[in-house]
Symmetry: C2
Subunit: 136 residues, 2 copies
DNA sequence: AATGAAGTCCACCGGTTTGGTAGGGTATTG
DNA sequence: CAATACCCTACCAAACCGGTGGACTTCATT
């Protein structure tokens, strides 16, 4: 399940997509419009900035804005930044891989199933972008 | 990500599939063979029994065994019992549905993407069974 | 009926994560 | 230089996770 943080992130990003190319947006503005706790949102946006999804500008007239065109950022990317691995097991994760100490056996029974799940999931999440968040 | 509990569950079930039709298997036997903390395993097996996946027999010569043929129990079922929802959002979960209070909007942007992910995932997990755990 | 092997049940526990709050520091810009 | 707005640290309660302990039932066997 996506954490609340990730859901907040998507809501905030939706707002930023709507305001794309209209200059920086205040945290407090996003917070009010999308009803996200201000200080919590601050952390989320900062994290997204560090991950290269957002840019920010300080001082008067400052705020947050998308670094790239909405169509350039995959949903999978957002989830990874905020919630971590998408795969169901560390040993089948592409970005958070860890050797599976439990499957000492050369062949882990769950392995190929979980790879299949991962691929099916990524096939969707890596083809949908932030732009899709406002298509209606 | 699957919890350790779920991973233990699959390991234990693998053992029970191997011993299918050979009578009840001791918890302690599974614990040793699969290196799963005994008491923790106890909880897991009990949970699986309550969910109708396993049967047990008390007293001497007792133990746990699969209630149905391995090909009759889907992996999705196991995950739901042990870890809960498979879907990434409560509002797109089939078995743990909850109305999404955040998407007051008629149209939640994430909704259809997450439904697609859910369907792709279930398409795999509901077609693989416990029997697949030992195919090698 | 007594024994003892086995599952059942329930409470608890320490650590981590999650969701959230508070308050101040620091950099930028008008 | 002061207002603005980002940045950082610390803290907190509640839930969850992985795991343990101990008492209690049930049942086959003798």
């Amino acid at each position: 399940m996506l954490s609340k943080k990730a859901q907040y992130a998507f809501r905030a990003l939706t707002h930023l997509v709507e305001k794309y190319d209209q200059g920086p947006v205040l945290i407090s503005d996003i917070s009010k419009k999308k009803k996200i706790p201000l200080k919590f949102l601050e952390n989320i946006l900062l994290e997204l900035k560090k991950a290269g999804v957002l840019e920010s500008k300080k001082g008067k007239g400052g705020g947050y804005y998308l670094k790239n065109h909405p169509s350039k950022t995959h949903m999978a990317n957002i989830i990874r930044v905020v919630d971590g691995p998408i795969a169901m097991l560390p040993c089948v994760s592409l970005y958070f891989y860890e050797r599976c100490k439990n499957c000492n056996e050369q062949y882990c029974a769950l392995h190929d199933t979980m790879i299949a799940v991962r691929d099916a999931t990524l096939n969707i999440l890596e083809h949908r972008t932030l732009q899709d968040l406002t298509n209606h």
